[in-house]
Symmetry: D3
Amino acid sequence: MENQRLCVKDFISGQTVDQVFVVRQKELRTTKTGDLYISATLGDRSGSIPGRMWQASEAIFDSIPPDGFLHVKGRVEDYRGTLQIVIDACRPFPTDKVNLSDFLPVTENDVEEMWSELLEILRGVKNKHLRLLVKKFIEDQQIVSAFKRAPAAMQLHNPFVGGLLEHTLSVARNAKALLGMYPHLNADLVLTGVFLHDIGKSAELSGGLNIRYTDRGQLVGHITIAAIWVQEKAALLAEELGEPFPKRIVNLLQHIILSHHGEYEFGSPKLPAIPEAFFIHYLDNLDAKMYMTINRIEKDPDHDSSFTGWVKELRTRLYKHSGDLSDGEDDGSQTGSLFE
Amino acid sequence: MENQRLCVKDFISGQTVDQVFVVRQKELRTTKTGDLYISATLGDRSGSIPGRMWQASEAIFDSIPPDGFLHVKGRVEDYRGTLQIVIDACRPFPTDKVNLSDFLPVTENDVEEMWSELLEILRGVKNKHLRLLVKKFIEDQQIVSAFKRAPAAMQLHNPFVGGLLEHTLSVARNAKALLGMYPHLNADLVLTGVFLHDIGKSAELSGGLNIRYTDRGQLVGHITIAAIWVQEKAALLAEELGEPFPKRIVNLLQHIILSHHGEYEFGSPKLPAIPEAFFIHYLDNLDAKMYMTINRIEKDPDHDSSFTGWVKELRTRLYKHSGDLSDGEDDGSQTGSLFE
Amino acid sequence: MENQRLCVKDFISGQTVDQVFVVRQKELRTTKTGDLYISATLGDRSGSIPGRMWQASEAIFDSIPPDGFLHVKGRVEDYRGTLQIVIDACRPFPTDKVNLSDFLPVTENDVEEMWSELLEILRGVKNKHLRLLVKKFIEDQQIVSAFKRAPAAMQLHNPFVGGLLEHTLSVARNAKALLGMYPHLNADLVLTGVFLHDIGKSAELSGGLNIRYTDRGQLVGHITIAAIWVQEKAALLAEELGEPFPKRIVNLLQHIILSHHGEYEFGSPKLPAIPEAFFIHYLDNLDAKMYMTINRIEKDPDHDSSFTGWVKELRTRLYKHSGDLSDGEDDGSQTGSLFE
Amino acid sequence: MENQRLCVKDFISGQTVDQVFVVRQKELRTTKTGDLYISATLGDRSGSIPGRMWQASEAIFDSIPPDGFLHVKGRVEDYRGTLQIVIDACRPFPTDKVNLSDFLPVTENDVEEMWSELLEILRGVKNKHLRLLVKKFIEDQQIVSAFKRAPAAMQLHNPFVGGLLEHTLSVARNAKALLGMYPHLNADLVLTGVFLHDIGKSAELSGGLNIRYTDRGQLVGHITIAAIWVQEKAALLAEELGEPFPKRIVNLLQHIILSHHGEYEFGSPKLPAIPEAFFIHYLDNLDAKMYMTINRIEKDPDHDSSFTGWVKELRTRLYKHSGDLSDGEDDGSQTGSLFE
Amino acid sequence: MENQRLCVKDFISGQTVDQVFVVRQKELRTTKTGDLYISATLGDRSGSIPGRMWQASEAIFDSIPPDGFLHVKGRVEDYRGTLQIVIDACRPFPTDKVNLSDFLPVTENDVEEMWSELLEILRGVKNKHLRLLVKKFIEDQQIVSAFKRAPAAMQLHNPFVGGLLEHTLSVARNAKALLGMYPHLNADLVLTGVFLHDIGKSAELSGGLNIRYTDRGQLVGHITIAAIWVQEKAALLAEELGEPFPKRIVNLLQHIILSHHGEYEFGSPKLPAIPEAFFIHYLDNLDAKMYMTINRIEKDPDHDSSFTGWVKELRTRLYKHSGDLSDGEDDGSQTGSLFE
Amino acid sequence: MENQRLCVKDFISGQTVDQVFVVRQKELRTTKTGDLYISATLGDRSGSIPGRMWQASEAIFDSIPPDGFLHVKGRVEDYRGTLQIVIDACRPFPTDKVNLSDFLPVTENDVEEMWSELLEILRGVKNKHLRLLVKKFIEDQQIVSAFKRAPAAMQLHNPFVGGLLEHTLSVARNAKALLGMYPHLNADLVLTGVFLHDIGKSAELSGGLNIRYTDRGQLVGHITIAAIWVQEKAALLAEELGEPFPKRIVNLLQHIILSHHGEYEFGSPKLPAIPEAFFIHYLDNLDAKMYMTINRIEKDPDHDSSFTGWVKELRTRLYKHSGDLSDGEDDGSQTGSLFE
């Protein structure tokens, strides 16, 4: 049935609705005449829409799962210029029967394929202790499971399920491609650092249907979380090995993680102080900016302008036609220029 | 014998030398005529002086302990405007026989008394889990021993053995004094946060005779080190208690530590986001600035000027006579002003 | 009668209104059919609401006192989603009969008690000239009267009648509590400086029912105003004493006032250059931030989120549960985390 | 006799000295053999030179006037690469017999002529109250005398006796020349503002032979000093006139003074908020930069380079040949370029 | 007919419309019942208004010229609080019959008179090569034509047809007036630099009815465009003269253009490094700020406040009564102040 | 003979000198006894040393070629702690007989091989107009010759002959390696942009034996120079092709050049606004930082410290042992830590 579901962003007034939504918010209210009604926010991966159920009861209200799924029957109405769903009937819908990707933005790539490719690259790590450390992370089911699901960022780049893995793999590929150019770099340190640089984001974001920062994400942040994990894994290894885990490796990996934002202003408590940290900082930044610029240009809603709207993070508008080198209508060569 | 030792800063040309120094640096060199000689830097808590031993041998050179103590006989000479010691004879001196405070700048307060007072204040922590956590730190002999010895900073404030304890105690006293003014604050969280805010400095600085940053101090930094220790102690407690240690406590304490510098630019990866973090940030800053300003004014070498030289960290010169409210000679009221 | 008045923020559609409001704005307009009607903004300490009086006359319009009080009869209506009062009748209400605190946000503390406590603290000033100077300010009825009424700031902290006194007293208490910790500080200078640091705000804000900046407040500012007052009071004292008032005292007090914002960017033309100026700067900042954070958390309208909305001045969101150290639902320990 | 005096900067080793110097510093010291000798710093407008008098007595030392003049007989010697004067005999020299301009850098223009021209421009002020206020300043002998002597700045621009007047006159001329272009400007306010914008510098710098900041200059600063003077003069006028002096005039003039540095970072507690304040800010800046650039280029010691050394305040080096538009040897057109 | 046209900003509900508009945007849409209607934005120099034509056809839609003129018959209606025009009939209107100044904001000065005055000033350039270069620009019909039409900026200052010429002339006048004050300046270089400093704006903005940045304007910018033009004109002259054009002149003029914004942050790739560049930078800034402040004050919509709203570019609000030195009602002297 | 020449940095006192130097500076002076002597600065690629020739004549002085080569016979002496050469005899040495790499720091790679590889990469450009444009640059003998010789920067990275080519090739290789990862990028635009991004440096630095900025380099800068060259080459091509060269290509290439520093503060008048500009900005920065960090670590003179000295441009010290992952002596694990 879910195959035929309509995206929220495509609704028009007058449509009949008979499908599943994720519940983003719900509230029981009283009308001026004293009747109960339910006000809710329903959504899917394409957006959100208000829902109203008149003549509701507390029982119905209680049956609606917050942050869960709801099968809704009703119709779309235009109320003062905004669409809403008038709900005739609803019942909770089991989470394991939904196609999660209908409700959450998800990477277009295959998560397991990406994970395999990343593991393949990490197999290139030769230093014994780094190999063991990488292994400890890979065997941590909780971390790996969250790592595969996490977005790379809330909004800025790869903001969808699998985005963190997608971004990490992309940086890893690029690092592998360029390591040969700089033989002075410690390749093992680079590859491990790339794997771990953003891994703390797995715990920075809560993994419900509605992605948001966890308290720990906001109060402590992914940079410190990842540094702590390195400490913990190294301690576990020392115990298993029966000998100290090299302190220098812990220092260097934590340094790479702490410094990878490159500037204090962006939340790095340390600036890069080894070539490998600079290398990762620039490749991380490069991949994020490639996503941001290409995605922002593709999604730009104004088809008439040759520039996107203002992009605050980049302090500029983006030009949309660098891919096409022939002169277009909008490059000042057309009539209408001050030069006429 | 060490009672009569002369401070390096008081040496004058022509003096005979027969006392112990700390060896800050040593080098074996060859004269133009091919003879070996030793070039060394000798010091005590008041400063450093070059030493030269002519007609030296490799055996003598090897007997000089780097970062250790040396009994030197010789005399002070003026060489091109700079004093140096011409060494006639020298022998290593056992570390356990020196009065360490002759060689390292040390707090003027009694370390154990300060430690007791701090413990007394910490006894005020009522929350069970915070009490246990504080206890875990206090029972960690390695951390406590280093905490008592560490300076509060390399140069900026309380830069001497015991300085970290002195500063921490001072902030704790002030916090205790002001907590009553702000009943909304969580007093237990504040007191524990004050105790731990700079504790990572115990591992940021190496504890030889010549204080300097450790590799870990430079690459990772005391802020992240302390956050990691909180994680480790909480994990130990969870194991001992057989139940999870409250995550919120870990988050809040780490947040206080991470944010206590108050600005990204000063190495805080998170800005204060709870009242307790602001409270600690300002009291920490206040105490550090009190030391910096009062100490800088007291030590100012120029007795004629009513202002110190430029203080880079404060972006100003300091006025030295705010303690005396009567008009002095230098306040523009004397003859010689443009108003004459 | 005013006991029963309803707060504007508690109005609901359909209520009958028969009480006094402060008039924030009034306008006489013409309907499309040529009739006159009155559009006004009515308010009290809890907020504002539009009022409409149909079939109005110029006489009625003229009888409404701008920035004064109006007794209104009518009813509350919902007009396109916004509440408004449809006015049936209205008449001006004498200012001396209203309870001013119904219309202006006012400190919850007793103004005269606070003033007494502040005077008590100032009695601790021992230096003769500073005592005389403090006395001159205390005897200036115009300044004292305005000082007791002024808010500490337009919006940032203690933004209500009596807020300036409340904040000044709080800083004075804290200063007194900590002065013993720093015996090098000139306590007389500190206490006088605390009293005067923000006193210029008494002339920076106009004292009508609707607090706003005076022209002098915007063009010259409270920092320079206070520095000028110190100069004037010192000149008066010199005249009365028949001898010069110590220039150094004037310099130091003006310096403390000028530098107490701590940064050029925040409007201080001089950076702190004496320990006492740093001391006051940090205690001033501490008290302001305590108000801002605690108040912002208490007033946060969203009860579901564990964080407030973005607080621009603090460059962060605030965490609302630092007062409760047990694990809550929102700290990432609940099901639904990426770690599941 | 003083006609023949040699400038300190022109001394060469071996010369006989028999002329007057200003005493910048003096000290009585003991040689290693226990004899007394005098170490002094002697100077004139061109620079400073150390002086040494061997076999000195306390009586001679006491006869040397600090910050006064000394007639010295002796000779110039090269001591370890630095010139010094070996003093054979010396005696104090009466201040009223020296040509002050030999010892202090002085404007090349005639001070009284400049003052007259400035008065002439100020006569253009038509508003009654501004005229009276200007008059009050002009009649203040203490201020005017200091105003005529003060430099415009310690180092940055017009750093010599009369420099403040020279700069103020220059800005006044320019203001007068451009006022016609902007008829919306209040010309009276502009001219008065130009006159007063830097007048506080008269009290910011001490007027001895060795110009330096007064305590008041450093603690309070010329901007606040001038704002206070406006307040005081207006109060005097109100008393004399028997009616209030217009508050708006005081506000506007103080605003112009407070805001004329144009940026918080440069010590302005208020940013320009009236057209007249912007006008004065730019003309002030323009004249200062004209002096700085032209003077820096003229004084550049390196005749081979077409650029001066780095000018920190301007964050650039200055090109020295903008006055000559023909191609020179150094513009990259000569042989030796990478293009050869 | 156009004489009687009503300005868009003066429309009221119910009016009949029968006049020409510029078409700012047009769109063909479908109602819920499947009928076509046209949504357009119509405008003139005073503002914009939505237009709706019901029961439209594709033929009518196609006849509407984008960025062209449209004669509209219909009436003004209030739709949910916003005015719109319901179009009964419309037909395209020939561009050459409109009074362009009805649709574009235009300088109030005579363009040709301004141009003549600028040429007269430029005739003062004596250096042969600079004269030739100025002549080359003046003879470039394309540049001159665009230069006369361009605004000085999109929004900040002189944002109307002829604004660039108006601003350039104003700076040239001021430069001429002040050149006599600074005889060290190269007057020829200054005058030519003033003429060319913003000339690149002629190509930065497209010259249709709706002024906006060209692609080249956004991607390359007027500063680089002008530097390139100098290079091209110099190359043409070298060819014509049969000898190299002096490289130093090209360097200096390009330097003046590149550095005239005065700060890297404002898009200058070089900071001023010759006195002439500083001179032009300050006069350029002065004239722009005079326009911005005076215009902002004049246009301020709120007649009750003595301050304008916040002006983001100036980081302040502007005081509106600096032209009137008598005390007004709003300067804090009136009743209602905290001082009562 | 030059094979045996000693590097200046290896000189020791007492050595006999009989070899060629480059003349960095020369001056004819008079001793106190009136004799002439020559003061010169002699150098090679390793450093500089003062030279003195006593009893010199004007004829000898005139024979010394400034910025040329000089064969010197004499000996090395220690004069007050600094080595100098006392010249017994000297004669000019023909430039074409020296091994230039003895006197100028030169890339260790083969210039022609690097050039061939760069050309090979550029052959991958498929767009007709970009190919033609690249060809125009490659055929410009003056530019290519200078491009091959130029350093990449004065000091920061690759500061030696051939450094610009080395850096450009490195960025081109990396771009080629990563282009496959981002199929949305316009590969032709990227490769051409990489080739041209720094090409203006060929004209920014003078090509004598002593590399320094040209006047044009300092006044105009390599960024604007390169943008101008693109304009000129495009104009030539348009002429040759008999049709306009696409404006969009010119805009985009100039945009890439103008924006490649990535920040206004680093001299870019435009911020990156197309994905290709971001791509080049990061790869440029990455390669420069790789050189800076690896080179700085290798050259660090202090072998005892695990960190280099402060690196101003990177705002940190660099850790020297990231290449070796075993625990070293300096990582805080050794005895002597505060943890003992």
